[in-house]
């Protein structure tokens, strides 16, 4: 895509050289791909966009936060929707429900249902609070993640939460998930006398 010249005139060669130089020197560059459409994403751009933290601890940002600070963040940012103690309201219930998953009235919360603590950090950082997502500092997100875990009795009130702490915390329902076995029911193509 660098040049449309098809005849090897001096001018064309010069243009080709100039275009190649531009490709080399300028960053970001035109994509060196089959179609040559789009451009390379720079490492800085990727780093700025790539906010996903994963259950194995990859890609946590630097920082940490205390449960004590998390209480302040929670009361200011979360309690209005999730309740003073995570009991829920306009927003999801966050606490309790231990031992209910196999009952008629399961209560799915961070403590009873979520398999991975890093997901809590990831979700709060990207999507909470509902009316102002991506407004909390990393320290605030670490802290409030810790506070929600504390409300569920999963960390002590003295805990300092960082990526390592979240990754190493085994959530109660970590082993509660199974692969999709569907089709799990088999109906018959009954045409007559099908009612029991």
């Amino acid at each position: 895509m660098a040049t449309a010249d098809r005849t090897p005139t001096a001018c064309g060669v010069l243009r080709t050289v100039a275009a190649a130089l531009l490709l080399t020197l300028s960053a970001p560059s035109i994509a060196q791909t089959r179609y040559g459409i789009g451009r390379a994403a720079t490492p800085a751009e990727v780093a700025a966009w790539n906010i996903d933290v994963e259950p194995d601890g990859r890609n946590f940002p630097p920082g940490q936060g205390t449960v004590a600070h998390g209480r302040d963040v929670y009361n200011a940012q979360c309690a209005a929707c999730h309740g003073a103690n995570g009991e829920g309201g306009m927003g999801d219930r966050l606490t309790g429900g231990a031992g209910t998953l196999a009952t008629d009235k399961p209560v799915k919360t961070v403590g009873s249902y979520w398999p991975y603590a890093p997901t809590l950090f990831d979700y709060i950082r990207r999507a909470m609070p509902l009316t102002a997502p991506q407004s909390l500092s990393n320290e605030d997100v670490y802290a409030v993640s810790g506070y929600v875990l504390y409300l569920n009795g999963l960390v002590p009130d003295t805990a300092v939460i960082d990526g390592k702490a979240l990754t190493s915390l085994k959530m109660p329902n970590r082993d509660g998930f199974i692969a999709d076995p569907r089709p799990d029911v088999k109906n018959r193509e009954c045409m007559t006398n099908c009612a029991k």
Binding site: E54, P106, K108, P181, D184, K186
Partner: protein, 446 residues
């Protein structure tokens, strides 16, 4: 249209037998039957059928009555609106009641859903303005000139595209349904109308770029197994998609039904994963990260997992299994009177094509094959119809689809027997409608 081995070999409109089986025969009914038989066309005798329009809101004008209509209606006595009166056309004012079905009294509407009015629609293409919605952080306003799509992770060439650049790449258009996996849930209170129950399904023609092409451009590295998709909305919606699906029929879409995506559908870009639960079809798509494992986002762990009675939950339940529903007559509608009723509905499967739909008008004891309206497309809504002679007595009607894998749509009791009532997602049960002797139609599930 290519036919699969499971395609029925007998004509689908096996009407007379059905009529005999379901007609006990008043003089009126018999007379109509004779007329229809003589006419030689069970469907398409428009004048006769127009009088039996089941449109609930049209009930008042459904009867042609005894008064003669004006020989010269007002619309013929003066010119109508000039060209250019509406630069973007909208439905007739008489159709103002055909709107999205938004549940009342929700705590908030930033993360909520609206449903397609299935009982009011014909055909297989959902009008863009009536497409169902499920947003987790509201509908963002995105300037397409500012929007970018990034591909990174386990790729040789991390890439950044503008929307216009994506439109320069080879394009694909396909018709596919999209369905939320909570459509409907298993617990009471059950919905009253087809829209209440199954209105989180819609179907459109989508145009975009093959995701495989984009991944080929980026160049997959060893270990690539999943692709995480992220939206540019306030939820930064995040889902992990198996690489196999991304290399199969996945699209990065910029247009729907011929025009650019509506904001509610992800303008200016969305992911489309035909047959996969709606939530994975990330709207306002801005980032695709190739990974070696799923990221276990909030949406694929705490939500969109299917809890079983034993306390375990199924995860990564992607496919929407085969489902069908009668949309006319359906809950909330009223059959104007005994006689001919064309039962109409939609069927679809995330696993491919619909090959057959059976209809029961006796509560599931007897089933008869319905006719399928072409085109019958992979992972798209398929219209079915079945001519019924209603005898004016209470009846329970239902439809049952079979897809090209041989899967037969199950009864609700079968699903509950396997999954309990707290599984929440992927309820694809047969939906019975109870027709009262008044002609009113109700949900056949208590």
């Amino acid at each position: 249209m290519a036919r699969t081995p499971r395609q029925p070999t007998t004509p689908a409109t096996d009407v007379p037998a059905t009529l005999e089986a379901n007609t006990v025969g008043s003089a009126v009914t018999k007379g109509r039957r004779t007329f229809l038989r003589r006419s030689g066309a069970w469907v398409g005798s428009g004048v006769a059928l127009a009088a039996l329009d089941l449109h609930a809101q049209d009930a008042a004008r459904a009867s042609s009555g005894t008064a003669s209509p004006p020989a010269i209606p007002d619309s013929m006595k003066a010119p109508g609106a000039p060209v250019g009166d509406k630069l973007y056309g909208v439905p007739s004012k008489y159709e103002a009641g055909v709107i999205r079905n938004v549940p009342k009294n929700q705590a908030q509407y930033i993360s909520a859903a609206s449903r397609t009015p299935l009982g009011d629609l014909d055909g297989i293409i959902t009008p863009s303005g009536l497409f169902y919605e499920r947003h987790h952080g509201g509908v963002p306003v995105i300037d397409p000139l500012q929007h970018r799509l990034m591909l990174h992770g386990l790729v040789k060439n991390p890439l950044l595209f503008t929307v216009d650049e994506l439109r320069r790449l080879p394009s694909i258009s396909r018709i596919h349904f999209l369905e939320c996996s909570g459509n409907p849930v298993y617990t009471k209170p059950y919905g009253k109308t087809a829209s209440d129950l199954v209105g989180l399904v819609s179907c459109g023609e989508w145009t975009g770029v093959s995701l495989k092409l984009l991944l080929d451009e980026a160049g997959l590295m060893p270990g690539a197994a999943w692709v995480m998709a992220e939206g540019a909305d306030a939820a930064a919606m995040t889902r992990s998609v198996p690489l196999d699906k991304c290399l199969d029929d996945a699209l990065v879409v910029y247009s729907q039904n011929g025009e650019r995506l509506r904001p509610e559908q992800g303008y200016p870009l969305r992911l489309l994963l035909p047959g996969f639960e709606g939530n994975m079809n990330v709207k306002w798509l801005r980032r695709l990260k190739v990974t070696d494992a799923p990221v276990h986002s909030r949406e694929e762990t705490s939500k969109y997992t299917d809890l079983l009675p034993n306390g375990k939950a199924r995860e990564f339940t992607f496919y929407m299994e085969a489902k069908s529903i009668i949309t006319s007559p359906s809950g909330g509608q009223k059959i104007p009177g005994a006689g001919f009723v064309e039962i109409r509905g939609i069927a679809w499967s995330g696993h491919g094509k619909v090959v057959r739909v059976d209809v029961s008008v006796d509560g599931g004891s007897t089933w008869t094959q319905a006719s399928l309206q072409e085109p019958v497309l992979t992972r798209a809504l398929t219209r079915f119809r079945y001519p019924w002679q209603w005898n004016g007595r209470p009846a329970v009607i239902a439809s049952r689809v079979v897809d090209e894998t041989g899967y037969v749509q199950p009864a609700f009791e079968q699903l509950v027997g396997e999954r309990g009532v707290n599984s929440f997602y992927h309820n694809n049960a047969i939906q019975p409608w109870r027709v009262a002797d008044s002609g009113e139609v109700f949900n056949g599930n208590g």
